[in-house]
């Protein structure tokens, strides 16, 4: 195949750029374990309220860290107000009792789909104390735009 000189340069440059992009991603994965939320765990969506994993929703702080258990439903998150400490890894565990929802903490990289029958889980650290808006970002019915909650990140010292 006869390829013009400038186009050859362009194609090599495109190839190098693509490899560079992928290398950036690989470094993120290997170096900082930067991954999308990809937890694989199932649950019966019709029995969430009785499931021991979701019977106690809310924030638990123990020696393993901070865990936030959230139930998503049309059109609310239970609990609607979540308080977590700043500067510590916080693990969210979320499931839905009805349709597919989203769970997005505005202004952070906390973002996951919440699919009935599955448990979403991700861990993140909130550096800056303050109040954050949590929104459902997957259409879930006519009240979709009303589905939100509050995350309050407290300075570490404020908690016992």
């Amino acid at each position: 195949m006869n390829v013009a000189f400038y186009e050859k340069i362009w194609m090599w440059a495109a190839g190098v750029l693509i490899v560079a992009f992928l290398a950036t991603i690989a470094v993120g994965v290997a170096g900082s374990a930067l991954q999308p939320p990809s937890h694989v765990e199932t649950i019966d969506p019709t029995k969430v309220w009785n499931d021991p994993r979701f019977a106690r929703h809310g924030v638990t702080v123990d020696e393993r860290g901070v865990t936030v258990v959230v139930v998503a439903m049309m059109y609310a998150f239970e609990n609607p107000e979540i308080r977590v400490p700043a500067g510590r890894p916080v693990t969210f565990r979320i499931t839905s009792v009805d349709v597919t929802h989203g769970f997005q903490i505005v202004g952070t990289n906390g973002n996951t789909m919440v699919v009935p029958g599955y448990i979403s889980q991700f861990t993140t650290v909130f550096r800056d104390p303050g109040e954050y808006l949590i929104v459902c970002n997957e259409y879930c019915g006519l009240g979709h735009h009303l589905m939100s909650a509050k995350l309050i990140v407290e300075p570490e010292a404020a908690r016992p």
Partner: protein, 540 residues
């Protein structure tokens, strides 16, 4: 008008009508997002119209336009009527009947599930059956395209296939591989469930099947646009195609890489492990390559055109190009918008980084540059070029046609850029009202939603101009002998022999192997897992 052109025109008109309705829906949505209080504004109307807009634009307008254009390519590049015209017409009526059924379900409020129709949101069976019929109709078209090629090939054993047809065959192969996924979702999961034959459905499996289809769907829109860029644009610009073999290579790469990438739409999904998402990330980046090649070849072809009109120096070839020709300006402007869309796409595909943009307004900003500009604006430009040549009527209201692509460009800049920014600020997509009880975060994006609405107004005006020109031409265009449809010639002589690049059987086999590598094992593991189905919900 010959009989095949009647077939093309029948498809084209369905595309134009669907586009007009969908554009009106979109205008209302942009105003709603900006919290502008209009008398008929309601959540029910908003989500209904998002569904109608998505289905009519992404599935109906595109598919019918592409089918129309496919038949034009057969008649004008292979110089023969499509074989099995009965099958072609059967496909048309099937797809049209399916469209009407789905639109009926949507407009009566029985299918407000958006165009992605994620279960366990449950629509009326007519919605799923209707969309399935659209796909079945498109399969008839695909069969006619492939049979026509085979008939031509029998008479031309050793010649390379004309480039336009090469691109359309790539489109057909991508489409046939892709639609297996959505057909499985509809036939095995959604239709039996919506009819009440089954009680539950696995939503993650449905999402896997949907996005197996959903990403190559993007290339189904894009490849015919590329055919226009490669084979129509250089000629309209008064030049030649810079590199015929690289254009062919690009289409083959799309056959290979379009499908095994769907998990990049599911980065944020539970139930799909990170390793498989990473594999799909690598393949997604590989598919940037043929688009880079296209950007160079098409731009170089424009430069060739400018220089053939006597331009000298570094950049004044740009001034020699026919910026007043609506096909030329549509394609050139859509390429500029698509450059931003491509960069945004690379960001979306960046694995962990996707968390920052997933399901935010960034996404609607992104795909209005790809399907809403690279594909839709090119298709509008192509309609200005095509309709007079098919009907033998001069373009009516040609001043509107001349202005329309620029208006679209401007509207899209306002709409898309503001949505990219509000997306980064965290505003979710597809919400009726983004005020969130006056929360501070929501206050911050308020002003930009008004910029987006202003963009929507320009886009709506542009769409209205397009419809006026089309209808005006059909009703009142001056009759004359139609200009012939001619394809761009290559700048350098091409090999008189067919090459490895038009061995479609071989490339299809390789593509299927890649699909199996990317999907077979994760799908198998998924089906083996203990899963709990979801009953359906109709919160609309």
């Amino acid at each position: 008008m010959n009989r095949t052109d009647r077939l093309s025109l029948a498809h084209l008109w369905v595309a134009i009508v669907a586009f007009g309705i969908a554009a009106a829906m979109a205008f209302m949505q942009a105003l709603s997002r900006a919290s502008l209080d209009l008398p008929w504004r309601s959540a029910k109307m908003y989500y209904l119209s998002v569904t109608a807009h998505g289905v009519l634009m992404a599935l109906v307008f595109t598919t019918f336009f592409i089918m129309a254009f496919g038949y034009v390519v057969v008649t004008r590049s292979l110089n023969r009527a499509p074989v099995a015209p009965g099958v072609a017409w059967a496909g048309y009526w099937t797809a049209l009947a399916g469209t009407l059924a789905a639109v009926w379900a949507i407009l009566t409020g029985k299918a407000t599930v958006l165009y992605t129709f994620y279960p366990p949101l449950k629509a009326h069976p007519a919605f799923y059956i209707g969309l399935t019929l659209v796909i079945v109709g498109s399969w008839c078209w695909a069969a006619v395209m492939l049979l026509s090629y085979r008939a031509w090939r029998r008479e031309h054993q050793s010649a390379p296939v004309p480039l336009a047809m090469h691109g359309m065959i790539a489109t057909v192969i991508v489409w046939l591989i892709a639609t297996v996924g959505v057909a499985a979702e509809a036939l095995l999961q959604l239709i039996p469930w919506s009819l009440g034959w089954t009680t539950t459905v696995d939503p993650v499996l449905a999402r896997m099947l949907f996005w197996y289809f959903g990403h190559p769907l993007v290339y189904f829109w894009l490849l015919p646009a590329y055919v226009i860029w490669y084979t129509v644009l250089p000629r309209v610009a008064g030049g030649k195609l810079f590199s015929d073999p690289l254009a062919r290579l690009a289409f083959v790469l799309f056959i290979l890489l379009s499908t095994p990438v769907g998990f990049h739409h599911q980065f944020m999904d539970p139930g799909v492990s990170a390793g498989w998402k990473l594999l799909h990330t690598f393949l997604t980046f590989a598919i940037l390559f043929p688009s880079f090649v296209t950007a160079f070849t098409v731009t170089a072809s424009m430069e060739v055109a400018g220089r053939m009109q006597g331009a000298t120096g570094l950049l004044n070839w740009l001034g020699k190009l026919p910026w007043r020709d609506p096909l030329f300006s549509s394609v050139a402007l859509s390429m500029i918008l698509f450059a931003f869309g491509g960069i945004g796409g690379a960001i979306n595909a960046s694995f962990g980084m996707n968390a920052v943009v997933h399901n935010t307004a960034w996404i609607q900003g992104h795909f209005h540059l790809t399907v809403g500009s690279a594909a839709a604006l090119t298709f509008m430009g192509a309609s200005y070029w095509l309709l007079p040549r098919l009907t033998g009527r001069e373009l009516e209201l040609s001043l509107l046609a001349r202005v329309q692509p620029y208006l679209w460009f401007l509207g899209m800049l306002l709409f898309s850029f503001s949505n990219h920014i509000t997306g980064l600020m965290g505003m979710p997509r597809r919400v009726y009202d983004a005020a969130y009880d006056g929360s501070a975060a929501a206050q911050a994006w308020r002003g930009l939603t008004e910029v987006s609405a202003a963009g929507g107004l320009l886009l709506f005006a542009s769409a209205a101009f397009f419809i006026l020109v089309m209808v005006g031409t059909a009703l009142a265009g001056k009759k004359r002998e139609p200009e012939p449809i001619l394809w761009a010639e290559p700048l350098h002589p091409v090999s008189p022999q067919r090459t490895l690049l038009d061995r479609y059987g071989l490339w299809t086999v390789v593509a299927v192997i890649l699909v199996l590598i990317a999907y077979a094992y994760p799908l198998w593991m998924h089906l083996r897992m203990v899963r709990f189905g979801s009953p359906g919900f109709q919160p609309f």
